[in-house]
């Protein structure tokens, strides 16, 4: 089994990590697609990257600081305006801890 072959259980696990609810048929479809893509991606495993530094940015910058100046922030109403559920100036989320 090569590095890239991904099982249905692994697909289910990745979907859970990614916070995606997928049906059984979607899971099987994504298994096929992921394996096809990862198969193509195998080409970079043969590249000699010894001693190469990773390049995470297009243009490297370090220590970018903003000036510490007070600004007028967005109003609470504006920040809440797009939420599916709000109450008393707060976002309402499904219950996390039962009473």
């Amino acid at each position: 089994m090569n590095l890239m072959s991904i099982s249905l259980d692994e697909v289910r696990h990745v979907a859970k990590l990614a916070r995606l609810e997928l049906s059984e048929s979607e899971l099987m479809s994504f298994q096929g697609k992921l394996n096809a893509l990862l198969g193509h991606f195998e080409d970079i495993q043969s590249v000699d990257v010894t001693g190469r530094l990773p390049k995470p940015h297009a243009v490297a910058m370090q220590n970018v600081f903003g000036q510490d100046i007070p600004i007028q922030p967005m109003s609470r109403d504006a920040a809440l305006a797009n939420s599916a559920d709000t109450k008393a100036g707060l976002f309402i989320v499904p219950t996390i801890i039962e009473e």
């Binding site: 609810e21 970079i44 190469r52 297009a58 903003g66 989320v93």
Partner: protein, 482 residues
């Protein structure tokens, strides 16, 4: 007819008071109303919003405070935040989202007095090559409405190509400006990473995303690039002293211009007729004194893999914010996390879900080194190869796309679609400025000529592009449907 003019021609007429800003904006709004049914380029058009800006622009023109873009209609890709105007990213998960703030580019476009005529269709969250991944339907290419315009900024490319707007803005993560520009026969420009603020651009892959202009000509694209660029303290990756200067745009020459074509971008992947058109254009440049060098940049071969590991990895993190709490509809479920999963599972489209899965996998324990870390190392190698090549070359050139506009639904193999980004990806990897200029027709469809330069060479790149556009001796070719 006003819509047939370039933005710079419209600007002359506005300044000479031959036409009012309201007349110009109304002309384009009328065209959108009657013609966009053929293209599906626009997701939101707000005529009142546009006309109010046109009236404000007219005041600037009347008081003598107008600039080059005052009163010029501009369309925005619908992943740029606009206060009070719906911004969907062509996704059901943002179907009803109305941003409470403007992206910096939107602020700049407004300050320049341009009128925003609408928000354009795209591949969902800018993930796609043909603009067939939109939750609101595919965009159609004006050169042949049965064909794709290219993605992901397909709506913005078509807005200009079909003369529904004088100018437009797109975003380019792996070619999403240049690729559709090529397929639609217009100019598309991705500036150096960091020269245009990403504040308010809904993030896809933050280390690669860059906003840039579409225009009918290099001059039009340059005018808009000048307006939207410059340092912005709201974007921590913004470069200081970075406004793109265009005073010397028309003073360039092709004599002695050193351009190099990598063999990796001129192999069997490129359609033979596209190659032929490209070579004929190249001959033209040589006649005018350009010096062409053939070279090899071997890491380009791994560009598609590298891109499709890095971009989804960044996307899997960036798209974590869409959970149905702060914006977008929410699908209720048995609990908190279950509600997140249901909302995301039901409202994201298939391609977005696939890329989130790829990214999550590539970043997960046990696979990080083999995929994400290694892809970043290859990204570094590729960038270094380009930088070394620039020591004795001005620009790297290639066709922008391996093919002309494909039929809608014509390419079903997902890897074949992704491989179409071959020529455009390296510029994003290195943050390099890159442009696509129309250079002819193959199969009666547009072919794009791409130039990519070193970091911060945007001015020289635009200057050379202007000279190249003159040398090609081809006026902007309008799609036959017009």
């Amino acid at each position: 007819m006003l819509h047939q003019l370039t933005a710079s021609e419209l600007s002359e007429k506005l300044h000479a008071k031959e036409v009012s800003a309201r007349e110009v904006t109304q002309a384009f709004l009328d065209r959108i109303a009657t013609e966009d049914q053929h293209y599906n380029a626009f997701l939101t058009v707000d005529a009142d919003y546009a006309l109010a800006q046109a009236d404000a622009a007219q005041s600037q023109l009347d008081s003598g405070t107008a600039g080059a873009l005052t009163g010029i209609p501009v369309a925005l890709k619908d992943n740029m935040s606009t206060t009070g105007v719906r911004t969907t990213c062509a996704s059901k998960i943002l179907d009803n989202y109305v941003p409470p703030y403007d992206a910096t580019v939107v602020t700049k476009v407004k300050e320049a007095g341009a009128t925003i005529v609408g928000k354009t269709n795209l591949d969902e969250f800018a993930m796609g090559t043909t603009n067939e991944n939109s939750a609101y339907g595919a965009v159609h290419n004006p050169w042949d409405t049965e064909r794709a315009p290219g993605g992901s900024s397909g709506g913005s490319a078509v807005a200009v190509s079909a003369e529904l707007s004088a100018l437009s803005l797109g975003s380019d993560t792996g070619g999403s400006i240049r690729f559709p520009a090529s397929l639609c026969g217009i100019v598309g420009f991705k500036p150096t990473y960091g020269r245009v603020s990403r504040y308010g651009l809904v993030a896809f892959a933050s280390s690669l995303d860059q906003i840039g202009p579409f225009g009918k000509s290099v001059e039009d694209a340059a005018l808009l690039a000048h307006v939207i660029s410059g340092y912005d303290n709201l974007d921590s990756t913004s470069l200081k002293n970075s406004q793109i200067q265009i005073n010397d745009l028309k003073s360039g020459s092709l004599k002695g211009l050193r351009i190099g074509i990598p063999e990796e971008l001129f192999g069997d992947e490129i359609d033979p007729q596209v190659k032929e058109v490209f070579e004929l254009s190249l001959d033209q440049l040589v006649k005018e004194g350009a010096i062409v060098k053939h070279l090899s940049l071997p890491s380009i071969r791994y560009g598609v893999t590298t891109y499709y590991l890095i971009a989804p990895s960044e996307a899997s993190s960036n798209l974590a914010r869409f959970d149905g709490v702060r914006f977008g509809p929410r699908i209720e479920s048995t609990g908190h996390v279950e509600s997140f999963c249901a909302t995301r599972g039901q409202l994201f489209g298939d391609e977005v879900k696939l890329r989130i899965m790829v990214g999550t996998y590539a970043l997960s324990a046990g696979y990080y080194d083999a995929y994400y870390h290694r892809a970043q190392q290859v990204r570094g190698m590729m960038t270094e190869e380009f930088e070394n090549a620039y020591k004795d070359l001005d620009f790297i050139i290639s066709p922008t796309s391996p093919i002309v506009a494909p039929p809608l639904g014509g390419i079903t193999d997902q890897m074949a679609l992704k491989a179409l980004d071959l020529c455009t990806i390296p510029a994003n990897m290195g943050g390099f400025p890159s442009i696509s200029i129309p250079c002819g027709l193959a199969y009666d469809l547009p072919v794009g000529f791409q130039l990519t330069g070193p970091i911060m060479s945007d001015e020289r790149l635009l200057q050379a592009s202007y000279a190249i556009e003159q040398a090609f001796g081809r006026e902007y070719r309008r799609p036959p449907i017009l």
